[in-house]
Assembly symmetry: C2
Homo-oligomer: 244 residues x 2
DNA sequence: ACAATAGTGTCTCTTAGACACTATGCG
DNA sequence: CGCATAGTGTCTAAGAGACACTATTGT
């Protein structure tokens, strides 16, 4: 900042914002992808990519506002769980020049989502995360970004209430447990799960949860939707490797 | 990215990188600050700020390279612990216009640091973190950034080997324990501490540690300096509040 | 030999994990 | 009335915290 402060004659990097939007649909963890336009001069024509784009300095007051806007445009969801994931920047990631992207990651319930088709972003779809990770044909460095996002999600799910943001309220404890199991990819003990959730004091009762179950379950709602709860310990440290 | 891809006639935000560099000096956690120039047109003239500045697209291949460069220029340290903290961007944070900064945070041992004085960044100094947080007169939104960095540091120290990066090798377990206590601001039990460190298997013996102690202590070195170790549990969960 | 620090042993109490059990509503 | 799911109780064992102890070296 010192060296060349007032005189700005050097080339500026492009600034973009991308959003990794997760949901659980049909018992599978999914991520929202958009197909890149086929127009001339466009990088990665026809390839799938994370939703995002240039910051509009005239519209977006902050980076987070920009992320919210993009999420709303693509999904119609206005109150997601949203946190910053990190940023990726360099000379090589976009053929158009030096660029830096600020990446956010969001969790939303599948229901109530209205995907924005047509317009300019040709197509939008929910992809199973496992499939995308297996054959990562994404544009730019989005495969790496997605990988990081999934890692972050999995690791935080071990000790936070994050999966609650994947469900529409009111939800039942069995449903919530299901979310944990889907994201973690392994079963979770029912009894321990319930004690843990209820003693963390972040849920309040709210009627009865939807579901085609034999016995209806109590409904719950988040007391505070603004942030997840951090549990004092991780799930199943019994299996603790000493690495990472 | 879709809407206005090829035609870039709209204003680009400024892209900067800032680095929060921590060390422990004289038994106190400190952060490196630089004084902003007094020249005309400079924002926050004379104020203290985090070291950082514009990305130089001709020199820096990636954001992290840029952070490494700035750290090397200011401290002479070439192999710090470096991780990304997050990014802050918006219309209001810099009077010169819409700007986004990518912030990294670094840990370095105090010894061997050669502060770069003079030149253009008028002055450089280690400030006690506690003092700066008490009277946050920093330029831009750097006070908020520092606060976030300290939070992140403190929280990660609870369950990782991060403080090892604050020491020159070889170091002793008592010295390492001291680092934990200084960062956490509370005493840590010796016995538990040792079991924990040694069973995590990230240290290897390396001679004898420096120190004016009565009884010399065994020296240790990190087996892998590239990343910290994550412990399965936090320190003293006994005191666990249910919040945050 | 003594002081000061390095390093070890032991006890207790919490709590997670495992799993068996009871309760309840639907077909 | 039985069955599938919701929800509870109990046992065990691992580990953390606390603290008392022993070991080693410099002065």
């Amino acid at each position: 900042m010192a060296t060349r402060s007032s005189v700005k004659t050097f080339p500026l990097p492009f600034t973009t914002v991308d959003v990794v939007i997760f949901t659980v649909l049909d018992d599978v963890l999914r991520v929202l992808l958009v197909q890149r336009p086929n127009a001339e001069g466009e990088p990665f024509p026809g390839a799938w990519a994370l939703p995002g784009g240039y910051v509009d300095t005239a519209v977006d007051a902050t980076l987070e506002d920009c992320a919210r806007r993009k999420l709303l445009e693509k999904t119609g969801v206005g109150s997601p769980y949203l946190e910053q994931l990190g940023s990726w920047g360099g000379a090589a990631r976009d053929p158009r020049g030096w660029s830096a992207t600020h990446v956010y990651f969001a969790l939303i319930p599948a229901q109530g989502v209205v995907l924005a088709k047509g317009a300019n972003a040709a197509d939008v779809a929910w992809y199973a995360v496992a499939d995308v990770l297996r054959a990562p044909e994404l544009a730019f460095d989005h495969a790496a970004i997605l990988r990081t996002a999934v890692e972050r999600l999995r690791s935080k799910v071990e000790y936070t209430s994050l999966p609650a943001f994947l469900l529409a309220e009111p939800f039942s404890l069995p449903q919530l447990q299901r979310m944990y199991e889907i994201v973690l990819g392994r079963p979770v003990d029912k009894s321990g799960f319930r004690t843990r959730m209820l003693s963390a004091n972040f849920l309040e009762e709210a009627g009865v949860a939807e579901g085609d179950s034999y016995r209806p379950a109590k409904g719950y709602r988040l007391i505070d939707r603004s942030a997840p709860v951090v549990f004092p310990r991780t799930f199943s440290p019994r299996a603790g490797d000493s690495n990472t």
